[in-house]
Protein backbone atom coordinates (compact mmCIF):
# COMPACT_ATOMS: atom_id res chain seq x y z
CA UNK A 1 0.00 0.00 0.00
CA UNK A 2 1.31 3.43 -0.86
CA UNK A 3 1.76 5.95 1.96
CA UNK A 4 0.10 8.81 0.14
CA UNK A 5 -3.20 10.07 1.45
CA UNK A 6 -5.55 11.58 -1.10
CA UNK A 7 -8.85 11.71 0.75
CA UNK A 8 -10.26 12.82 4.10
CA UNK A 9 -11.69 9.34 4.57
CA UNK A 10 -8.28 7.74 4.23
CA UNK A 11 -6.66 10.42 6.39
CA UNK A 12 -9.10 9.71 9.24
CA UNK A 13 -8.66 5.96 8.85
CA UNK A 14 -4.86 6.26 8.89
CA UNK A 15 -4.92 8.58 11.86
CA UNK A 16 -6.97 6.04 13.77
CA UNK A 17 -10.01 8.26 14.24
CA UNK A 18 -13.31 6.45 14.65
CA UNK A 19 -14.81 6.97 11.21
CA UNK A 20 -18.44 7.53 10.24
CA UNK A 21 -19.56 7.37 6.62
CA UNK A 22 -22.98 7.77 5.05
CA UNK A 23 -24.75 6.71 1.91
CA UNK A 24 -26.48 8.57 -0.91
CA UNK A 25 -28.56 6.99 -3.62
CA UNK A 26 -28.97 8.64 -7.02
CA UNK A 27 -32.38 7.95 -8.50
CA UNK A 28 -33.97 7.12 -11.82
CA UNK A 29 -34.12 10.79 -12.72
CA UNK A 30 -32.48 13.31 -14.98
CA UNK A 31 -30.95 15.13 -12.01
CA UNK A 32 -29.28 14.45 -8.67
CA UNK A 33 -31.15 17.11 -6.70
CA UNK A 34 -32.37 14.77 -3.98
CA UNK A 35 -29.01 13.18 -3.11
CA UNK A 36 -27.50 16.69 -3.20
CA UNK A 37 -30.09 17.85 -0.65
CA UNK A 38 -29.38 14.80 1.50
CA UNK A 39 -25.62 15.40 1.23
CA UNK A 40 -26.11 18.99 2.45
CA UNK A 41 -27.74 17.64 5.60
CA UNK A 42 -24.93 15.15 6.15
CA UNK A 43 -22.06 17.63 5.86
CA UNK A 44 -20.20 17.62 9.16
CA UNK A 45 -21.93 14.44 10.36
CA UNK A 46 -19.87 11.98 8.32
CA UNK A 47 -16.44 12.21 6.72
CA UNK A 48 -17.61 10.82 3.38
CA UNK A 49 -20.65 9.38 1.67
CA UNK A 50 -20.91 6.38 -0.60
CA UNK A 51 -22.73 7.11 -3.82
CA UNK A 52 -24.40 3.92 -4.94
CA UNK A 53 -23.90 2.43 -8.40
CA UNK A 54 -27.13 0.86 -9.65
CA UNK A 55 -27.97 -0.77 -6.29
CA UNK A 56 -29.72 -4.14 -6.51
CA UNK A 57 -29.22 -3.71 -10.28
CA UNK A 58 -31.82 -0.98 -10.66
CA UNK A 59 -30.46 1.44 -13.26
CA UNK A 60 -30.13 4.96 -11.83
CA UNK A 61 -28.06 8.09 -12.50
CA UNK A 62 -24.46 7.19 -13.20
CA UNK A 63 -22.58 7.04 -9.93
CA UNK A 64 -19.51 8.89 -11.18
CA UNK A 65 -21.60 11.81 -12.46
CA UNK A 66 -23.59 11.88 -9.21
CA UNK A 67 -20.43 11.68 -7.06
CA UNK A 68 -18.89 14.57 -8.96
CA UNK A 69 -21.99 16.77 -8.74
CA UNK A 70 -22.58 16.02 -5.05
CA UNK A 71 -18.96 16.75 -4.20
CA UNK A 72 -18.97 19.95 -6.27
CA UNK A 73 -22.28 21.28 -4.95
CA UNK A 74 -21.96 20.37 -1.28
CA UNK A 75 -18.29 19.75 -0.54
CA UNK A 76 -19.23 16.30 0.81
CA UNK A 77 -16.43 13.86 -0.03
CA UNK A 78 -17.83 10.99 -2.04
CA UNK A 79 -16.98 7.32 -2.22
CA UNK A 80 -17.72 6.45 -5.81
CA UNK A 81 -19.17 2.93 -5.88
CA UNK A 82 -18.12 1.05 -9.00
CA UNK A 83 -19.64 -2.29 -10.01
CA UNK A 84 -18.20 -4.92 -12.33
CA UNK A 85 -21.69 -6.06 -13.36
CA UNK A 86 -22.15 -3.47 -16.08
CA UNK A 87 -18.70 -2.71 -17.45
CA UNK A 88 -15.86 -4.65 -19.01
CA UNK A 89 -12.26 -4.04 -17.97
CA UNK A 90 -11.81 -1.30 -20.56
CA UNK A 91 -14.84 0.62 -19.35
CA UNK A 92 -13.79 0.16 -15.72
CA UNK A 93 -10.33 1.48 -16.52
CA UNK A 94 -11.65 4.53 -18.32
CA UNK A 95 -14.17 5.17 -15.53
CA UNK A 96 -11.37 5.08 -12.94
CA UNK A 97 -9.39 7.55 -15.07
CA UNK A 98 -12.52 9.68 -15.38
CA UNK A 99 -13.07 9.60 -11.63
CA UNK A 100 -9.50 10.75 -11.07
CA UNK A 101 -9.91 13.54 -13.61
CA UNK A 102 -13.12 14.69 -11.87
CA UNK A 103 -11.38 14.86 -8.51
CA UNK A 104 -13.03 11.85 -6.88
CA UNK A 105 -10.80 10.44 -4.17
CA UNK A 106 -12.35 7.14 -3.12
CA UNK A 107 -13.72 4.18 -5.01
CA UNK A 108 -15.58 1.26 -3.48
CA UNK A 109 -14.87 -1.66 -5.83
CA UNK A 110 -17.80 -4.06 -6.03
CA UNK A 111 -18.75 -7.09 -8.10
CA UNK A 112 -22.34 -5.87 -7.98
CA UNK A 113 -25.67 -7.65 -7.92
CA UNK A 114 -26.57 -9.71 -10.95
CA UNK A 115 -28.56 -7.74 -13.53
CA UNK A 116 -31.36 -10.32 -13.41
CA UNK A 117 -32.28 -9.09 -9.90
CA UNK A 118 -33.07 -5.55 -10.97
CA UNK A 119 -35.28 -3.57 -13.31
CA UNK A 120 -33.38 -4.41 -16.50
CA UNK A 121 -33.21 -8.20 -16.21
CA UNK A 122 -32.58 -8.91 -19.90
CA UNK A 123 -29.32 -6.96 -19.90
CA UNK A 124 -26.13 -8.89 -20.63
CA UNK A 125 -24.24 -9.25 -17.33
CA UNK A 126 -20.58 -8.34 -17.77
CA UNK A 127 -18.40 -9.34 -14.76
CA UNK A 128 -15.28 -9.21 -16.95
CA UNK A 129 -13.39 -8.37 -13.76
CA UNK A 130 -14.47 -9.21 -10.23
CA UNK A 131 -14.07 -7.07 -7.12
CA UNK A 132 -10.60 -8.52 -6.44
CA UNK A 133 -9.21 -7.87 -9.91
CA UNK A 134 -10.85 -4.41 -9.98
CA UNK A 135 -9.02 -3.61 -6.72
CA UNK A 136 -5.81 -4.89 -8.30
CA UNK A 137 -6.41 -2.78 -11.41
CA UNK A 138 -7.02 0.39 -9.39
CA UNK A 139 -3.96 -0.14 -7.20
CA UNK A 140 -1.84 -0.80 -10.26
CA UNK A 141 -3.15 2.38 -11.91
CA UNK A 142 -2.63 4.57 -8.85
CA UNK A 143 0.62 3.12 -7.50
CA UNK A 144 2.44 2.02 -10.64
CA UNK A 145 0.76 4.14 -13.30
CA UNK A 146 -0.06 1.00 -15.26
CA UNK A 147 -3.17 -0.90 -16.26
CA UNK A 148 -3.53 -4.69 -16.04
CA UNK A 149 -1.89 -5.08 -19.44
CA UNK A 150 1.13 -3.04 -18.31
CA UNK A 151 0.17 -0.05 -20.48
CA UNK A 152 1.46 3.19 -19.00
CA UNK A 153 -0.87 5.86 -17.67
CA UNK A 154 0.16 9.46 -17.97
CA UNK A 155 -0.47 11.39 -14.74
CA UNK A 156 -2.09 8.45 -12.86
CA UNK A 157 -5.27 9.05 -10.84
CA UNK A 158 -4.85 9.81 -7.15
CA UNK A 159 -7.50 7.92 -5.26
CA UNK A 160 -8.09 5.13 -2.76
CA UNK A 161 -9.85 1.83 -3.19
CA UNK A 162 -12.08 0.07 -0.70
CA UNK A 163 -13.79 -3.29 -0.88
CA UNK A 164 -16.79 -5.03 0.61
CA UNK A 165 -17.13 -7.92 3.04
CA UNK A 166 -20.24 -9.87 3.95
CA UNK A 167 -20.17 -11.01 7.60
CA UNK A 168 -23.57 -12.66 7.22
CA UNK A 169 -22.53 -14.78 4.23
CA UNK A 170 -23.91 -18.31 4.36
CA UNK A 171 -20.39 -19.80 4.08
CA UNK A 172 -18.22 -17.65 6.29
CA UNK A 173 -14.93 -19.45 5.62
CA UNK A 174 -15.24 -18.96 1.86
CA UNK A 175 -16.26 -15.33 2.39
CA UNK A 176 -13.28 -14.67 4.66
CA UNK A 177 -10.98 -16.40 2.15
CA UNK A 178 -12.24 -13.97 -0.46
CA UNK A 179 -11.76 -10.99 1.87
CA UNK A 180 -8.16 -12.09 2.46
CA UNK A 181 -7.74 -12.29 -1.30
CA UNK A 182 -8.93 -8.68 -1.57
CA UNK A 183 -6.37 -7.74 1.06
CA UNK A 184 -3.70 -9.52 -1.01
CA UNK A 185 -4.88 -7.47 -3.99
CA UNK A 186 -4.18 -4.25 -2.08
CA UNK A 187 -7.56 -3.09 -0.82
CA UNK A 188 -7.05 -0.07 1.45
CA UNK A 189 -10.13 -0.42 3.63
CA UNK A 190 -13.12 -2.72 3.91
CA UNK A 191 -16.76 -1.93 4.43
CA UNK A 192 -19.11 -4.65 5.54
CA UNK A 193 -22.55 -5.41 4.28
CA UNK A 194 -25.27 -4.44 6.73
CA UNK A 195 -25.14 -6.38 10.00
CA UNK A 196 -27.88 -6.46 12.65
CA UNK A 197 -26.65 -9.28 14.87
CA UNK A 198 -23.62 -8.84 17.12
CA UNK A 199 -22.79 -12.55 17.06
CA UNK A 200 -22.63 -12.48 13.25
CA UNK A 201 -20.12 -9.66 13.51
CA UNK A 202 -18.09 -11.39 16.20
CA UNK A 203 -17.86 -14.62 14.21
CA UNK A 204 -16.70 -12.64 11.18
CA UNK A 205 -13.95 -10.84 13.10
CA UNK A 206 -12.89 -14.11 14.76
CA UNK A 207 -12.67 -15.93 11.45
CA UNK A 208 -10.81 -13.06 9.79
CA UNK A 209 -8.25 -12.68 12.57
CA UNK A 210 -5.99 -9.68 12.76
CA UNK A 211 -5.60 -7.77 9.52
CA UNK A 212 -3.88 -4.48 8.72
CA UNK A 213 -6.79 -3.09 6.75
CA UNK A 214 -9.33 -0.86 8.55
CA UNK A 215 -12.90 -2.18 8.55
CA UNK A 216 -16.06 -0.09 8.59
CA UNK A 217 -19.11 -1.99 9.80
CA UNK A 218 -22.30 -1.35 7.85
CA UNK A 219 -25.51 -0.64 9.73
CA UNK A 220 -28.90 0.15 8.29
CA UNK A 221 -31.26 2.18 10.44
CA UNK A 222 -34.41 2.00 8.34
CA UNK A 223 -36.50 5.12 7.78
CA UNK A 224 -39.58 3.07 7.00
CA UNK A 225 -40.84 -0.45 7.56
CA UNK A 226 -40.68 -0.95 3.78
CA UNK A 227 -36.91 -0.33 3.73
CA UNK A 228 -36.30 -2.84 6.54
CA UNK A 229 -38.62 -5.38 4.96
CA UNK A 230 -36.87 -5.03 1.58
CA UNK A 231 -33.50 -5.75 3.17
CA UNK A 232 -34.89 -8.76 4.98
CA UNK A 233 -36.58 -10.20 1.93
CA UNK A 234 -34.29 -9.32 -0.94
CA UNK A 235 -30.75 -8.67 0.24
CA UNK A 236 -28.84 -11.95 0.44
CA UNK A 237 -26.70 -12.41 3.52
CA UNK A 238 -28.71 -9.90 5.60
CA UNK A 239 -31.18 -11.05 8.24
CA UNK A 240 -33.21 -8.33 9.90
CA UNK A 241 -34.15 -9.29 13.47
CA UNK A 242 -37.87 -10.08 13.76
CA UNK A 243 -38.34 -7.86 16.85
CA UNK A 244 -36.90 -4.85 15.06
CA UNK A 245 -38.95 -5.63 11.96
CA UNK A 246 -42.13 -5.90 14.04
CA UNK A 247 -41.42 -2.65 15.86
CA UNK A 248 -40.90 -0.95 12.49
CA UNK A 249 -44.09 -2.52 11.15
CA UNK A 250 -46.03 -1.08 14.11
CA UNK A 251 -44.96 2.46 13.13
CA UNK A 252 -46.97 2.10 9.92
CA UNK A 253 -50.20 2.51 11.87
CA UNK A 254 -49.26 5.94 13.27
CA UNK A 255 -51.12 8.58 11.29
CA UNK A 256 -49.53 11.75 12.64
CA UNK A 257 -46.38 12.30 10.58
CA UNK A 258 -44.32 13.87 13.34
CA UNK A 259 -45.30 11.19 15.85
CA UNK A 260 -44.45 8.51 13.31
CA UNK A 261 -41.00 10.05 12.77
CA UNK A 262 -40.43 10.17 16.52
CA UNK A 263 -41.45 6.53 16.91
CA UNK A 264 -39.26 5.37 14.00
CA UNK A 265 -36.32 7.22 15.54
CA UNK A 266 -37.09 5.72 18.95
CA UNK A 267 -37.20 2.17 17.51
CA UNK A 268 -33.89 2.68 15.74
CA UNK A 269 -32.16 4.26 18.72
CA UNK A 270 -33.44 1.54 21.02
CA UNK A 271 -32.29 -1.24 18.71
CA UNK A 272 -28.91 0.26 17.81
CA UNK A 273 -27.98 1.27 21.37
CA UNK A 274 -27.00 -2.29 22.18
CA UNK A 275 -25.47 -2.97 18.79
CA UNK A 276 -23.30 0.15 18.77
CA UNK A 277 -22.24 -0.44 22.37
CA UNK A 278 -21.06 -3.87 21.27
CA UNK A 279 -19.38 -2.41 18.18
CA UNK A 280 -17.08 -0.34 20.37
CA UNK A 281 -15.48 -3.54 21.62
CA UNK A 282 -14.77 -4.97 18.15
CA UNK A 283 -11.77 -4.27 15.89
CA UNK A 284 -13.99 -2.07 13.65
CA UNK A 285 -12.39 1.20 12.57
CA UNK A 286 -15.72 2.89 12.13
CA UNK A 287 -19.29 2.61 11.09
CA UNK A 288 -20.87 2.99 7.68
CA UNK A 289 -24.36 4.30 8.25
CA UNK A 290 -26.40 3.23 5.30
CA UNK A 291 -29.25 5.50 6.36
CA UNK A 292 -30.49 6.37 2.87
CA UNK A 293 -32.79 9.39 3.00
CA UNK A 294 -32.62 9.40 6.79
CA UNK A 295 -29.91 11.88 7.85
CA UNK A 296 -31.65 12.91 11.09
CA UNK A 297 -30.86 9.53 12.68
CA UNK A 298 -27.10 9.91 12.32
CA UNK A 299 -26.38 12.43 15.14
CA UNK A 300 -28.20 10.43 17.85
CA UNK A 301 -26.55 7.20 16.70
CA UNK A 302 -23.12 8.86 16.65
CA UNK A 303 -23.79 10.08 20.15
CA UNK A 304 -24.24 6.49 21.28
CA UNK A 305 -20.67 5.78 20.17
CA UNK A 306 -19.13 8.56 22.26
Amino acid sequence: MGDEVYSDLMRELKEGEYVFTGELEPEKAGDVNEPIEMARELVGMVVACNVTDNPQSFAYVNSMAASYLIQKETGMECVYQLRCSDRNRMALLSDVLGAGALGLKNILALAGDHVSLGDTPDAKPVFDLDSTTLIKLIRSMVDDGKDLGGNEIHNPPKLHVGGAAAPGAAHLKAEVGKVKRKINAGVEYLQTQVVYYTDVLDKFFDELGKVDVPILVGIFPARTFGQADFFDKYVAGVDVPPDYLEAMRATKAIKDKEKKKEEVDRVNIEFFTGFLEHLKGTPAAGCHMMAVGYPRIIPPLKKLME
Binding site: S85, R89, A111, D113, H114, S116, L117, P125, F127, D128, L129, D130, S131, T132, T133, K136, L148, A164, A165, A166, A169, A170, H171, K173, A174, E175, G177, K178, K180, R181, N184, A185, Q193, A236, G237
Partner: protein
Protein backbone atom coordinates in the same frame (compact mmCIF):
# COMPACT_ATOMS: atom_id res chain seq x y z
CA UNK B 1 -23.53 -32.49 -25.54
CA UNK B 2 -25.65 -29.50 -26.32
CA UNK B 3 -28.92 -29.59 -24.40
CA UNK B 4 -31.89 -28.13 -26.19
CA UNK B 5 -35.60 -27.68 -25.90
CA UNK B 6 -38.25 -27.05 -28.49
CA UNK B 7 -39.38 -23.48 -29.00
CA UNK B 8 -42.99 -22.61 -28.12
CA UNK B 9 -45.37 -23.46 -30.98
CA UNK B 10 -46.52 -19.86 -31.08
CA UNK B 11 -43.00 -18.65 -31.90
CA UNK B 12 -42.49 -21.34 -34.55
CA UNK B 13 -45.82 -20.46 -36.20
CA UNK B 14 -44.79 -16.80 -36.16
CA UNK B 15 -41.70 -17.60 -38.23
CA UNK B 16 -43.85 -19.66 -40.60
CA UNK B 17 -46.40 -16.94 -41.24
CA UNK B 18 -47.09 -16.82 -44.98
CA UNK B 19 -45.15 -20.03 -45.50
CA UNK B 20 -47.46 -22.89 -46.33
CA UNK B 21 -45.25 -25.72 -47.53
CA UNK B 22 -42.62 -26.56 -44.95
CA UNK B 23 -39.94 -29.16 -44.30
CA UNK B 24 -39.34 -30.44 -40.78
CA UNK B 25 -35.82 -31.79 -40.47
CA UNK B 26 -34.48 -33.65 -37.43
CA UNK B 27 -31.01 -34.20 -36.03
CA UNK B 28 -29.51 -37.55 -35.02
CA UNK B 29 -26.97 -35.98 -32.65
CA UNK B 30 -27.54 -34.08 -29.41
CA UNK B 31 -31.15 -33.23 -30.33
CA UNK B 32 -31.93 -36.94 -30.49
CA UNK B 33 -30.49 -37.44 -26.99
CA UNK B 34 -32.65 -34.61 -25.67
CA UNK B 35 -35.68 -35.83 -27.64
CA UNK B 36 -36.07 -32.58 -29.51
CA UNK B 37 -34.83 -33.79 -32.89
CA UNK B 38 -35.35 -37.55 -32.98
CA UNK B 39 -37.78 -39.20 -35.38
CA UNK B 40 -40.59 -39.17 -32.83
CA UNK B 41 -40.12 -35.45 -32.18
CA UNK B 42 -40.08 -34.78 -35.95
CA UNK B 43 -43.34 -36.71 -36.33
CA UNK B 44 -44.97 -34.84 -33.44
CA UNK B 45 -43.98 -31.41 -34.69
CA UNK B 46 -45.09 -32.32 -38.22
CA UNK B 47 -48.44 -33.46 -36.85
CA UNK B 48 -48.92 -30.24 -34.89
CA UNK B 49 -48.02 -28.13 -37.91
CA UNK B 50 -50.44 -30.13 -40.06
CA UNK B 51 -53.17 -29.36 -37.53
CA UNK B 52 -52.32 -25.71 -38.04
CA UNK B 53 -52.94 -26.16 -41.74
CA UNK B 54 -49.36 -26.52 -42.95
CA UNK B 55 -48.32 -28.90 -45.70
CA UNK B 56 -45.40 -30.73 -44.10
CA UNK B 57 -42.61 -32.88 -45.54
CA UNK B 58 -40.37 -34.68 -43.03
CA UNK B 59 -36.63 -35.33 -43.19
CA UNK B 60 -35.76 -37.26 -40.02
CA UNK B 61 -32.05 -37.87 -39.54
CA UNK B 62 -31.19 -41.32 -38.13
CA UNK B 63 -29.23 -41.71 -34.88
CA UNK B 64 -25.63 -40.42 -35.24
CA UNK B 65 -26.42 -38.38 -38.37
CA UNK B 66 -26.01 -34.82 -37.07
CA UNK B 67 -27.44 -31.76 -38.75
CA UNK B 68 -24.24 -29.85 -37.94
CA UNK B 69 -21.97 -32.28 -39.79
CA UNK B 70 -22.16 -31.69 -43.48
CA UNK B 71 -20.64 -34.97 -44.60
CA UNK B 72 -23.54 -36.81 -42.98
CA UNK B 73 -26.52 -34.50 -43.19
CA UNK B 74 -25.60 -33.37 -46.72
CA UNK B 75 -26.51 -36.87 -47.92
CA UNK B 76 -30.08 -36.39 -46.69
CA UNK B 77 -30.34 -32.87 -48.11
CA UNK B 78 -29.16 -34.03 -51.53
CA UNK B 79 -31.55 -36.98 -51.41
CA UNK B 80 -34.47 -34.60 -50.87
CA UNK B 81 -33.41 -31.86 -53.29
CA UNK B 82 -36.71 -31.82 -55.14
CA UNK B 83 -38.80 -31.36 -52.01
CA UNK B 84 -36.46 -28.68 -50.70
CA UNK B 85 -36.75 -26.76 -53.98
CA UNK B 86 -40.55 -26.79 -53.79
CA UNK B 87 -40.96 -25.79 -50.16
CA UNK B 88 -41.34 -22.33 -48.56
CA UNK B 89 -39.27 -22.98 -45.46
CA UNK B 90 -37.15 -25.57 -43.66
CA UNK B 91 -37.62 -26.00 -39.94
CA UNK B 92 -34.58 -27.65 -38.35
CA UNK B 93 -34.93 -29.41 -34.99
CA UNK B 94 -31.34 -28.96 -33.83
CA UNK B 95 -29.11 -26.45 -32.12
CA UNK B 96 -28.25 -23.23 -33.95
CA UNK B 97 -25.17 -24.85 -35.44
CA UNK B 98 -27.24 -27.47 -37.28
CA UNK B 99 -29.66 -24.80 -38.51
CA UNK B 100 -26.85 -22.71 -39.95
CA UNK B 101 -24.94 -25.63 -41.47
CA UNK B 102 -28.12 -26.73 -43.27
CA UNK B 103 -28.87 -23.18 -44.50
CA UNK B 104 -25.30 -22.67 -45.64
CA UNK B 105 -25.13 -25.99 -47.49
CA UNK B 106 -28.46 -25.38 -49.23
CA UNK B 107 -27.39 -21.88 -50.26
CA UNK B 108 -23.81 -22.51 -51.26
CA UNK B 109 -23.75 -26.09 -52.50
CA UNK B 110 -27.30 -26.75 -53.63
CA UNK B 111 -28.22 -23.28 -54.87
CA UNK B 112 -31.50 -23.40 -52.93
CA UNK B 113 -32.27 -20.18 -51.06
CA UNK B 114 -34.99 -20.87 -48.48
CA UNK B 115 -35.84 -19.64 -45.01
CA UNK B 116 -34.18 -22.09 -42.63
CA UNK B 117 -35.78 -21.71 -39.22
CA UNK B 118 -34.79 -23.00 -35.79
CA UNK B 119 -37.32 -25.20 -34.02
CA UNK B 120 -35.16 -25.51 -30.89
CA UNK B 121 -33.36 -23.35 -28.36
CA UNK B 122 -29.92 -24.65 -27.44
CA UNK B 123 -29.36 -24.19 -23.73
CA UNK B 124 -25.78 -25.19 -23.18
CA UNK B 125 -22.99 -27.68 -23.20
CA UNK B 126 -24.16 -29.96 -20.43
CA UNK B 127 -22.93 -32.98 -18.53
CA UNK B 128 -24.32 -35.50 -16.09
CA UNK B 129 -27.63 -37.26 -16.58
CA UNK B 130 -29.59 -39.35 -17.14
CA UNK B 131 -32.19 -37.02 -15.54
CA UNK B 132 -30.29 -34.10 -14.08
CA UNK B 133 -27.93 -32.33 -16.45
CA UNK B 134 -25.91 -29.22 -15.83
CA UNK B 135 -24.12 -26.73 -18.02
CA UNK B 136 -20.48 -27.38 -17.26
CA UNK B 137 -18.41 -25.81 -20.02
CA UNK B 138 -18.79 -22.82 -22.30
CA UNK B 139 -15.98 -23.76 -24.68
CA UNK B 140 -14.21 -20.50 -23.85
CA UNK B 141 -10.93 -21.51 -25.46
CA UNK B 142 -8.87 -21.07 -22.27
CA UNK B 143 -9.75 -23.71 -19.69
CA UNK B 144 -9.47 -22.42 -16.12
CA UNK B 145 -10.23 -25.73 -14.35
CA UNK B 146 -6.59 -26.17 -13.28
CA UNK B 147 -6.91 -23.05 -11.09
CA UNK B 148 -10.26 -23.80 -9.48
CA UNK B 149 -10.17 -27.39 -8.22
CA UNK B 150 -11.86 -28.67 -11.37
CA UNK B 151 -15.04 -26.55 -11.15
CA UNK B 152 -15.49 -23.93 -13.87
CA UNK B 153 -16.28 -20.58 -12.22
CA UNK B 154 -17.09 -18.95 -15.56
CA UNK B 155 -19.92 -21.43 -16.06
CA UNK B 156 -20.93 -22.65 -12.61
CA UNK B 157 -20.91 -19.21 -10.95
CA UNK B 158 -23.92 -17.15 -11.96
CA UNK B 159 -21.70 -14.11 -12.36
CA UNK B 160 -18.78 -15.99 -13.87
CA UNK B 161 -16.41 -14.60 -11.24
CA UNK B 162 -12.78 -15.72 -11.31
CA UNK B 163 -12.43 -14.64 -7.67
CA UNK B 164 -15.55 -15.47 -5.71
CA UNK B 165 -17.79 -16.00 -3.89
CA UNK B 166 -19.73 -12.76 -4.26
CA UNK B 167 -21.40 -11.25 -1.23
CA UNK B 168 -24.76 -12.73 -2.15
CA UNK B 169 -24.40 -16.37 -1.12
CA UNK B 170 -27.80 -17.48 0.17
CA UNK B 171 -28.72 -19.79 2.99
CA UNK B 172 -27.70 -23.35 2.22
CA UNK B 173 -24.80 -22.00 0.11
CA UNK B 174 -27.11 -21.21 -2.78
CA UNK B 175 -26.64 -18.68 -5.56
CA UNK B 176 -27.71 -15.03 -5.30
CA UNK B 177 -29.47 -15.29 -8.63
CA UNK B 178 -31.27 -18.58 -8.20
CA UNK B 179 -31.73 -20.29 -4.87
CA UNK B 180 -32.11 -23.68 -6.54
CA UNK B 181 -28.49 -23.54 -7.69
CA UNK B 182 -25.37 -24.10 -5.61
CA UNK B 183 -22.80 -21.36 -5.14
CA UNK B 184 -19.90 -22.45 -7.35
CA UNK B 185 -17.34 -20.70 -5.18
CA UNK B 186 -18.47 -22.52 -2.04
CA UNK B 187 -18.15 -25.74 -4.05
CA UNK B 188 -14.65 -24.68 -5.11
CA UNK B 189 -13.78 -23.91 -1.48
CA UNK B 190 -15.07 -27.30 -0.30
CA UNK B 191 -13.25 -29.17 -3.04
CA UNK B 192 -10.00 -27.33 -2.36
CA UNK B 193 -10.45 -28.24 1.31
CA UNK B 194 -10.86 -31.92 0.37
CA UNK B 195 -7.76 -31.77 -1.81
CA UNK B 196 -5.82 -29.98 0.93
CA UNK B 197 -5.28 -27.05 -1.44
CA UNK B 198 -6.98 -24.25 0.50
CA UNK B 199 -3.88 -22.08 0.14
CA UNK B 200 -4.88 -21.70 -3.51
CA UNK B 201 -8.27 -20.25 -2.53
CA UNK B 202 -6.89 -16.90 -1.38
CA UNK B 203 -4.55 -16.48 -4.34
CA UNK B 204 -5.66 -13.98 -6.99
CA UNK B 205 -6.71 -15.48 -10.29
CA UNK B 206 -6.09 -13.19 -13.25
CA UNK B 207 -9.06 -12.06 -15.30
CA UNK B 208 -10.05 -14.60 -17.92
CA UNK B 209 -8.40 -14.22 -21.34
CA UNK B 210 -11.41 -13.45 -23.49
CA UNK B 211 -9.04 -12.85 -26.40
CA UNK B 212 -9.22 -16.63 -26.84
CA UNK B 213 -12.89 -16.28 -27.72
CA UNK B 214 -12.70 -14.15 -30.84
CA UNK B 215 -15.94 -15.02 -32.53
CA UNK B 216 -16.59 -16.76 -34.79
CA UNK B 217 -13.85 -19.16 -33.83
CA UNK B 218 -12.58 -21.26 -36.72
CA UNK B 219 -11.11 -24.67 -36.30
CA UNK B 220 -9.19 -26.71 -38.83
CA UNK B 221 -8.66 -30.47 -38.73
CA UNK B 222 -5.41 -31.88 -40.08
CA UNK B 223 -7.42 -34.63 -41.72
CA UNK B 224 -11.06 -34.32 -42.77
CA UNK B 225 -13.78 -35.35 -40.33
CA UNK B 226 -14.66 -38.79 -41.64
CA UNK B 227 -16.73 -41.73 -40.58
CA UNK B 228 -14.69 -44.84 -41.28
CA UNK B 229 -14.73 -48.51 -40.35
CA UNK B 230 -12.37 -48.03 -37.39
CA UNK B 231 -14.72 -45.45 -35.89
CA UNK B 232 -17.65 -47.81 -36.40
CA UNK B 233 -15.85 -50.69 -34.68
CA UNK B 234 -14.83 -48.32 -31.87
CA UNK B 235 -18.46 -47.29 -31.39
CA UNK B 236 -19.54 -50.94 -31.24
CA UNK B 237 -16.89 -51.67 -28.59
CA UNK B 238 -18.21 -48.71 -26.63
CA UNK B 239 -21.79 -49.96 -26.81
CA UNK B 240 -20.66 -53.44 -25.68
CA UNK B 241 -18.88 -51.89 -22.69
CA UNK B 242 -21.97 -49.86 -21.76
CA UNK B 243 -24.15 -52.97 -22.03
CA UNK B 244 -21.97 -55.43 -20.16
CA UNK B 245 -19.67 -53.26 -18.00
CA UNK B 246 -20.19 -52.20 -14.36
CA UNK B 247 -23.22 -49.97 -13.99
CA UNK B 248 -22.63 -46.38 -12.84
CA UNK B 249 -24.60 -45.00 -9.87
CA UNK B 250 -27.39 -42.91 -11.34
CA UNK B 251 -29.75 -40.29 -9.96
CA UNK B 252 -33.32 -41.29 -9.29
Amino acid sequence: MIAQEQKPMEEILGYLEGKQKVVVMGCGGCATFYRTGDTKAVNELAENLTKEGKDVFKIPLPFSIQACEIEKCGVFLEKNRKELENRDAVLVMSCGSGVQVVADYMDEKMGIAKSVIPANDAIGLVGGGPIHLKETCQSCGMCELGKTAGICPLTACGKGLMNGPCGGVREGNKCEIDETKDCAWVKIYERMEKLDELDKFTSIRDPHEWSKTKRPRLFEMEKPVKIDVAAGIGAMKGMMAVTFGPKPKLDE
